[in-house]
């Protein structure tokens, strides 16, 4: 959404370039994403050509070679209910391009220019039967109901009152702790793991917490995802982001 409007303005340069240059406000950060960020946005692609067209429509400056690179990074995946063959690829590409990789980049640059121990990243992987049946996986902003509590953030999946009820105090109290102490661990919910900060791995790798009902644990950003994120970083100027 931010539009690069040139030197001397609010958004003086593309965001990737600004973050990579350390030109941002240095404060503690809590940032994360959902496993399937792209599913509510992506075109229901049937072919790699559809995937290319989808990205070309969103980012007109991408050329054929770059679109091919995207398709190579996101080959045919396991099918999802109610969707065409290349929808999972289109969704994964869009989700990582738009949310996950920018989030990881923010985490990494905050770690490197500010403090590796003051940025915390998460992957929200709370499984909702309805979303799974719809072929959407763990959708964008699905954690909102756990942050605010079910019923306090608009419509909510039924599972937050039943099979996923246990995740709510876990997520909410990490957030509360971050707000109160600028550290998610100080006031975290009893019995939950220490949320390790992103750290100083570099090269797009870092620690993140994986939120899952009754199975919230630390994990590392997989190398494959870091590689795909490197591609999006390479394409960021063509995409004007």
């Amino acid at each position: 959404l931010p539009v690069t409007t040139g030197p001397g303005t609010l958004v003086p340069a593309n965001l990737y370039d600004s973050f990579e240059a350390g030109k941002f406000i240095k404060v503690p950060v809590l940032i994360g994403d959902d496993t399937d960020e792209g599913t509510v946005f992506a075109y229901n692609a049937s072919t790699p050509e559809d995937v290319s067209q989808f990205f070309k429509n969103n980012y007109p400056l991408l050329d054929e070679a770059e679109l091919d690179q995207i398709n190579e990074a996101y080959p045919l995946m396991d099918p999802l209910p109610n969707h065409a063959a290349y929808f999972p690829s289109a969704a994964a590409a869009y989700g990582e391009a738009t949310f996950t990789c920018p989030g990881n980049t923010i985490a990494e640059t905050v770690a490197s220019f500010f403090e590796p121990g003051k940025v915390w990243n998460y992957r929200y992987n709370v499984i909702d039967p309805g979303n799974v049946a719809a072929g959407l996986g763990v959708t964008h902003t699905f954690e909102t109901a756990a942050i605010f509590g079910p019923g306090y953030a608009g419509s909510v999946a039924d599972s937050y009152y039943t099979t996923n009820a246990a995740i709510v105090p876990v997520v909410m109290n990490y957030y509360i702790s971050f707000m109160r102490a600028l550290d998610p661990n100080v006031y975290r919910y009893p019995g939950t793991p220490v949320w390790e900060a992103w750290g100083d791995f570099g090269a797009g790798r870092g620690f993140r917490i994986k939120f899952e009902t009754n199975d919230t644990i630390m994990e590392e950003v997989p190398q494959q995802q870091a590689d795909r994120c490197a591609l999006w970083k390479d394409l960021s100027n063509a995409m004007e982001v």
């Binding site: 959404l1 609010l10 940032i31 989030g103 909102t144 509590g149 306090y152 509360i176 109160r180 006031y187």
Partner: protein
């Protein structure tokens, strides 16, 4: 090709004005002040046109956000009789909340005066050439008694809020819908601490509008 990109504050799919911090504040044992807001967007993201670029800004939503953060820095302490606001920040999906450990009071006079002095002026000059106009500031209570009850706000507090805002109630939605340029709004709600077993809760809603005709000014 469907490419939905309709950000509204903290939510893409839902407007931030449905984000209610009551339960979070309660779970924090009333150690938080919750500030919620929204910013302007169009159906395809930030409103963009050559006219806007000439006499406005292509990142109006982010300017809204920054204005909110300044406002919080300047005023949040007064809401709660506290010394100074701490750091607030907002990154992508990060929920931005200003921390406050406090013995809050409902201080209608101070808060109201400050608020209106900032918003009743017809124009704000802001960052050089950018001229923004307040068509109208609206201040509203929570919509109705049912909602107050749902939010668990004690009666004593409702009275306090009522004194605070009764002279400035406007029909929130109608005023927003009345503007062809409106897309989004600011929604401040602060909730804080125990005060003789009462929960201080202030909800301010400000309608913030583009000039209807930028060219004629």
């Amino acid at each position: 090709v469907n490419a939905q990109a309709n950000y509204n504050g903290t939510g893409v799919v839902q407007n931030s004005d449905i984000h209610n911090g009551t339960e979070m504040v309660r779970q924090s044992d009333y150690n938080l002040v919750f500030v919620n807001f929204n910013y302007r967007v169009g159906a395809l993201g930030f409103l963009a046109s050559e006219e806007l670029q000439e006499d406005g800004d292509l990142n109006a939503g982010l300017l809204d956000q920054r204005k909110l953060l300044y406002w919080v820095q300047d005023n949040i302490a007064k809401v709660n009789h506290l010394s100074s606001a701490r750091r607030s920040s907002s990154f992508a999906e990060t929920v931005t909340i200003v921390r406050r450990r406090s013995r809050p009071r409902c201080n209608p006079r101070l808060f109201r005066r400050r608020w209106l002095s900032r918003t009743s002026s017809d124009r704000l000059r802001w960052r050089g050439q950018r001229t923004f106009r307040w068509r109208r500031a609206t201040v509203s209570l929570l919509a109705n008694a049912t909602e107050r009850q749902r939010a668990g706000i004690p009666v004593q507090e409702i009275r306090c809020r009522h004194r605070l805002f009764q002279r400035h109630q406007y029909a929130f939605m109608s005023s927003l819908r009345g503007s062809g340029h409106y897309s989004g709004g600011w929604h401040y709600s602060t909730m804080a601490g125990r005060q003789r077993q009462a929960t201080a809760s202030l909800v301010l809603v400000a309608g913030y509008h583009w000039p209807r005709d930028a060219g004629s000014r």
